[in-house]
Every structure is written in structure tokens, then in C-alpha cells.
Symmetry: C2
Subunit: 257 residues, 2 copies
């Protein structure tokens, strides 16, 4: 975050590495799209409007596909490429993207602002990226071409307590919000919309969904499609309560890298 005159800039830099974030045989057009989308998702969680991106690119196979997917993403989200650099390096490739946005609401939403009495919400449906990754065609786009919730983040920014995007698994990111805010989050796992109810536990832990997780004062309905999934309590003797059971540690709640 960077204050400049009357504006507040939100800046983010997320990387994707072969092997960790994408498979060697991935379509590089999808990799490029996702690199843009995950960074814009960070801006969405701050209620920020994207102003532009800069790319750090490691040359290799599929360069033309990468450029195609990059162009598609930039066009889809109406964001200019402001600069970047390319290198050639042997071994696993990694790409970095910096996204710059302007805050649309001050104070800028933050994961540290959950307050007791608020309700915890999450947008849309969890687990779609997992099913797409596993090969279910109807969910392929959820994994390959996630959509950052820019309009939703902007609409929510003036109203939320805390807000963040869900990238590493809903439960892990709930834990992080609770830790950062110094509160306890009590969650009702059955209230979370999941793509496959028979695999609810996995849907709550798999990452890559890029939903928005946020809190609102109790009794206030969300302005954007979302489900209430729990409540914020004063900090008790644990960070999270899941279906009335104290969760002792973040181990096993999501994807950590």
C-alpha cells in the first residue's frame, strides 16, 4: 500500500513456479491467465481497481501460448501491461507478475479487521478448482482460468470488517484471518457451498478457488452473492472452532507453500 497525493495504491507481486503452481504439460496460455488472475484477486480483496501489470518472464516452451493467454487476460480484465523483463534460465521456470491498483475505499479492507459479533461470509462455491484440476470438464475453467472478483471486492469494500481472497484453502485462510485479527472464527462447515458435497472436507481445504472471504456486521446481508458460514467471536483459547470443535493448529487446513 502506497499513498500518493489523494490516491492510495495497492501493489501485489505473486509468482507461479513450474512444479509448484503449474504442471510441465500445462497450456501456457492458461498459466498466463492464472498469473494475471491471482494477482488481480489480491487487488479485488482490497477493493482496488487494477491500473496495470508488469511481467517477469522466464523464456522457454510455449512462449507464444503464454503471450496469447496474457493478452486474453489483460483484455478480459481491461488492464494494460506497463512493462516487464524476460530472462532465459535453465531448469524449472517461474513467472512473476506485479499488479498495481488504486483503492476505491479508505480504509482499505484488510484481513486483520474481523471483529467479534460479525458474520463470516464467502462468495460462490468452494472446490471447483479442485474438481477442474482432477479433470472434470465442467470445472476446468475454474482451475485454468479463474476470475478475480474485482467488481465484488469493490462493492464490498465500504461495508466489510475484514476481507481477503481465498487462495490456499478456505479453512486455512479463515485461520489466517482469525490469527491476523486476534479473534476466534466459529465456522459451520455445512453452510459452505461446495462443488461436491460428498467431498466437503476436501473442498474446504483445496486452494485455487479465488473466492472472497469477508466479515459483515451481524444482520447485514451481503451485497454480492455469498453465503454466511460462521461468526466472529472474541479470542478464546483457540483460533478456530469448526462445527463446535476447537481446531488446535492450522496443519491440514489447506495448502501451504
Amino acid at each position: 500500500m502506497l499513498e500518493l497525493g489523494s490516491e492510495t495504491l495497492i501493489v501485489t507481486h505473486d509468482m507461479m513456479a513450474q512444479g509448484t503452481h503449474f504442471r510441465a504439460r500445462a497450456d501456457m496460455a492458461d498459466v498466463a491467465w492464472k498469473l494475471v488472475a491471482v494477482n488481480l484477486s489480491d487487488l479485488a480483496a482490497k477493493g482496488a481497481e487494477p491500473l496495470g501489470v508488469l511481467l517477469g518472464y522466464s523464456l522457454g516452451e510455449g512462449d507464444a501460448r503464454f503471450v496469447k493467454g496474457l493478452g486474453e487476460a489483460l483484455a478480459a480484465f481491461n488492464v494494460p501491461l506497463l512493462g516487464g523483463d524476460t530472462v532465459r534460465a535453465a531448469g524449472a521456470r517461474s513467472f512473476g507478475l506485479t499488479a498495481i491498483g488504486r483503492a476505491t475505499h479508505i480504509p482499505v479492507p484488510d484481513r486483520r479487521m474481523a471483529r467479534p459479533g460479525e458474520t463470516v461470509w464467502v462468495t460462490r462455491t468452494l472446490g471447483r478448482a479442485m474438481l477442474g484440476f482432477e479433470g472434470q470438464q465442467e470445472h476446468a475453467l475454474a482451475f485454468n482460468r479463474p476470475m478475480p472478483l474485482l467488481a465484488e471486492g469493490k462493492a464490498l469494500a465500504p461495508h466489510v470488517g475484514a476481507m481477503m481472497d481465498v487462495s490456499d484453502g478456505l479453512l486455512l485462510d479463515c485461520w489466517r484471518m482469525a490469527s491476523a485479527s486476534g479473534v476466534t472464527l466459529a465456522l459451520d462447515s455445512m453452510a459452505v457451498p461446495v462443488a461436491d458435497p460428498a467431498r466437503r472436507a476436501e473442498c474446504l481445504r483445496w486452494g485455487d478457488d479465488y473466492e472472497l472471504l469477508f466479515t459483515l456486521p451481524a444482520g447485514i446481508a451481503s451485497l454480492v452473492p455469498a453465503a454466511p458460514i460462521g461468526s466472529v467471536l472474541p479470542r478464546g483459547n483457540c483460533t478456530m472452532i469448526l462445527d463446535d470443535v476447537n481446531v488446535a493448529s492450522p496443519d491440514g487446513l489447506g495448502y501451504r507453500h
Copy 2:
């Protein structure tokens, strides 16, 4: 370049890759310093004041040294780290840095603005990084810990025609300025201050010096230490004239990657 309210942002993203930009046995503290310095040098050439940087870091050997050098550079140039990401990827490592600055003068200096009748200038001495790379102790810092000419760039910005930083060799960057401006640059190689006059040709072609190359109206002296090294002519039948000889192509003028 990004206009935001009354401010103009300058953004740059330069990468360094093992094997291309640094040796495997390099001190990672120096690599970190240089990564910051080369990006700030881009801002210097635009007359911009740095506001912050974001880092894309590939984990590996020497992480603690990298963090140390990064901290030293950020402290030396008084620039905050605004964000970043780390990945672990097998093979040659590469690092990316985004630097964000604010323009101090509009129009922002640009390599495309050299105009016939102007004089070509370059700051300080060329070839120091080359000698440092080769092991000459007195020039080690020039290679390992280059200093971006931020104050000089800011002082020059209101006065220059064209300006850019010299990163890939003086002659090659002169060629680029001439091409971008649609003019011919006539250079006097003996007028260029070099670190080793016996190796003048190499000093004019080796990169990594991070000097500022700029043009001023004829008869105007530079406000910062610099040498006049040639003049801008209307575009003739070649892009560059070196010591009265037409240069036919940029091949062999510098370091291209």
C-alpha cells in the same frame, strides 16, 4: 508510466538470472543490491523518485545473504519493500524486482527525445564494472554494488532532451537512443571518460555501468558531473557515426540478451 490524479508513476521490472546476470558463486548480498540498483537506475533515467519495490524471489543457497544485501540496498536508497513472493524451483534461479517511482518532472525524460543540434553527454566513467568483474579490487564495487544516479537524474530531468541509463554498453545504448529518436548520433570516442584508456574500445562496449546518457541543447553545460561525447544530427544514412566512421549495425556495440 501511469497517470494517477496529479501524479505520474514510473514503474519498471528488471530481472536477474543466474548464469546470465550473475555467477553461481556470486555473493547473494551483491546480487540483491544489484537487483535493486538496476531497477532504481531505470527510475533515475526518468527523473523519478523511488516510492517502493516488490520482489519476486526464487529460494536457494545464500538466502540469508540475499536478505542482508536487500536490506542494505533498501536502506541506502531509502526505499521500502512493499511486497513480493517467493517460490522454490529447481535449476538456475532468477529474481525479479518491480520498482515504483513518481515522476518529478513532466514531460518524463525519454530515450526518444534526442533532437538535432543537441549535445550528447554521459555521466562519470565507463568500464569500471568491466574491470571490477575481472577482479580489479578498486573497481569491485562498481560491478558488485552499482549506485543508481537518482539525484543526478532528478536534477537533469527538467533540462534534457533525451535521457536513458547505460546498462548494456555505451555504444549500444547510444545506438538505441538514436534509433528511438529518429536521429543520427555522432560520437567522439576519445571524449568518453574510460576507466582504462588502453582498453577504450571494450570500455565503450561493456555493460553494467549504470551511467546516465542524455542530451542537452548545444552550449548548455551539464548540471551534474558528465562529459560531452558527441552531437545529435538530423537522421542521415546511418544511425551512428563513431569517430567520423558510419556504423552500419548495432552488432558488436554492446551486450545483447
